[in-house]
């Protein structure tokens, strides 16, 4: 059985400021917000984004919006202006983040997938 991913419960948008990537992830349903919080931790996101984000990652929790907001430093090869990357803004990274597998209660995992 394929584990569920963030893409199954959440939507995301990335933005750029210089060499910093912002990454917002929101649960579609309020009841999935705890799973989002448990799955999209700083540690798990750092491991998932290895090779992309070189600097510090800070997570802001946004309970009113059922969301989390990551601010990732040194993530855009020096920034949009001088970067050689094809997607210099990192706009496509929102969907890379949504590929992160969920951390779910074992009992839930069986019935939910």
């Amino acid at each position: 059985m394929t584990p569920r991913r963030l893409h199954d419960i959440a939507h995301a948008r990335t933005g750029d400021k210089g060499d910093t990537l912002t990454l917002s992830i929101f649960a579609y349903r309020r009841e999935d917000y705890p799973v989002l919080l448990a799955s999209a931790t700083v540690e798990r996101m750092r491991a998932h984004m290895q090779g992309v984000v070189a600097g510090e990652i800070v997570r802001h929790e946004l309970p009113l919006l059922d969301g989390v907001h990551f601010v990732c430093r040194q993530a855009l090869k020096g920034g949009v202006n001088t970067s050689l990357a094809l997607d210099a803004h990192g706009k496509s990274l929102s969907f890379a983040a949504l590929a992160l597998p969920l951390v779910e209660d074992r009992r839930d995992a069986g019935s939910a997938a």
């Binding site: 933005g15 750029d16 912002t22 917002s24 984004m49 992309v52 907001h69 920034g79 202006n81 050689l84």
Partner: protein, 439 residues
């Protein structure tokens, strides 16, 4: 006044679609229309045009936008604010006035000046990345982010059309709110709420379903006719967002959430020249029928310093691409990249080899996949000279006759690079002024 003021956003970047702005004026009864047309780099590029011709240096699409909009603006009494003056708002305003004259129209036009601080940029001014201005080499532009007060002075002249250079994007919405509702510039709660309104509007279609669709999960109807957003804003800062009836796109809680946090470095302190806005105190509510309410929102005093974007010449980027397909496509594309790398040697500040369709957007960070049918080799290099950077495309193109089998569709590109760095200066170093332009 107790009725809300309606502000539409008719452009979210310099190259944005044209006709959604007209739809806002003709079919959505907006009171004010804002056009946000300046990315970080736009002014630096425009500054190069101004150096070549003092009558230029404003956004290339400004006159096309105004030619389309001005008759409708005049007929309906809609006032317009835009930062499309870029590196030369005065010349932009004069060009719009001349265009209006040719069209038989006579709008009152104001140019907002003062963001250009290139002539007083100290070489030892510290940049936010630890370098100093002098480390950048040849600086071509330095523009302070002016705030809503500068645009407000433009509106107070009675102008129908206010054209500025660099201003904070949300200020384009905040200024008309201050003007109509009489908000004081030191009412930090209202400044924060107006800034949140402006931030939600500033990317235009990104609030109404653009940059959002994910077929099957986040479906958006008719993006080919995406409607751009407007906000009805009450005197206490409460706002309801919508889009023209019958237009494409959607606005709901999800599109609004994504845009509220877009490009935000600190959700508790979103800094502009006008405000330090706390977006975590904003409550969004879905009213159905493509309407979202924003209530609450608090803020702290605005920053003392103004951010300055400093543009500098950063050499040239050359690129070359060529496609391989069928069995072994990836191996042949990879081989082509190795050949180009060997031919180019050292001397580039940065050199990058991508296989489009394999690893060009996210590297190899997310595991192995079955071999794809086609791979497009892309090589990019940055160098000090145009001739050196151009060699990248030349060497990729030469793979036709000298590289692996079956390479096709080679393309080459060369562009000058303007880097942008950020610094902070005291407000007194960037006083604004308003010039009225007569048709």
């Amino acid at each position: 006044m107790t009725r809300p003021v309606r502000i539409g956003c008719g452009a979210g970047f310099a190259g944005d679609r044209l006709e959604p702005a007209l739809e806002l004026v003709e079919r959505a009864a907006v009171d004010f229309l804002m056009l946000e047309c300046l990315a970080e780099r736009t002014i630096a590029n425009a500054q190069k045009e101004r150096l070549a011709d003092p009558a230029r240096g404003f956004c290339g699409m400004l006159l096309r936008r105004m030619e389309m909009l001005m008759p409708a603006l005049a007929a309906r009494g809609v006032r317009l604010l835009t930062n499309a003056g870029a590196a030369n708002p005065r010349a932009g305003a004069e060009a719009v006035a001349a265009l209006a004259g040719r069209m038989g129209l006579s709008p009152r036009i104001a140019a907002v000046l003062g963001d250009d601080v290139l002539d007083r940029l100290a070489p030892d001014l510290a940049l936010d990345d630890g370098r100093r201005v002098r480390d950048l080499g040849e600086v071509v532009s330095a523009n302070a982010y002016l705030g809503a007060e500068a645009l407000l002075d433009g509106l107070r002249t009675g102008a129908d059309i206010v054209i500025s250079g660099r201003v904070a994007d949300p200020s384009l919405a905040l200024a008309p709110l201050m003007h109509v509702h009489g908000w004081a510039a030191d009412d930090w709660r209202l400044m924060a709420r107006g800034t949140a309104v402006g931030h939600l509007l500033e990317c235009a279609g990104q609030l109404t379903g653009g940059y959002f669709a994910d077929p099957g999960r986040k479906d958006v109807p008719d993006l080919a006719r995406l409607g751009f957003p407007f906000a009805d804003v009450w005197p206490d800062g409460r706002a309801v967002f919508g889009k023209p009836a019958g237009s494409g796109g959607r606005i709901d809680l999800r599109t609004a959430k994504e845009q509220l946090l877009y490009e935000v470095l600190d959700p508790r302190a979103y800094l502009t020249p006008d405000s330090s806005a706390d977006f975590t105190s904003v409550a969004l509510r879905d009213l159905g029928d493509d309407r979202v309410e924003m209530a609450g929102g608090d803020g702290a005093p605005r920053p003392d310093l103004l951010k300055v974007s400093v543009g500098y010449r950063a050499g040239y980027i050359g690129e070359g691409e060529i496609s391989y397909a069928g069995p072994g496509a990836e191996a042949r594309a990879r081989m082509g990249g190795e050949i180009v790398r060997a031919r180019l040697g050292d001397g580039f500040e940065d050199l990058r080899v991508d296989l489009v369709g394999i690893d060009s957007t996210h590297g190899r960070s997310w595991g192995n996949r079955p071999e794809s049918w086609e791979a497009r080799l892309r090589v990019a290099g940055r160098a000090r000279s145009a001739a050196m950077a151009a060699r990248v495309g030349e060497e990729v193109e030469a793979l036709y006759c000298n590289g692996p089998a079956g390479g096709g569709g080679a393309r080459k590109y060369l562009r000058e690079v303007v880097g942008v760095a950020s610094a902070f200066i005291p407000r007194a170093m960037a006083p604004h002024s308003v010039v009225e332009i007569r048709p």
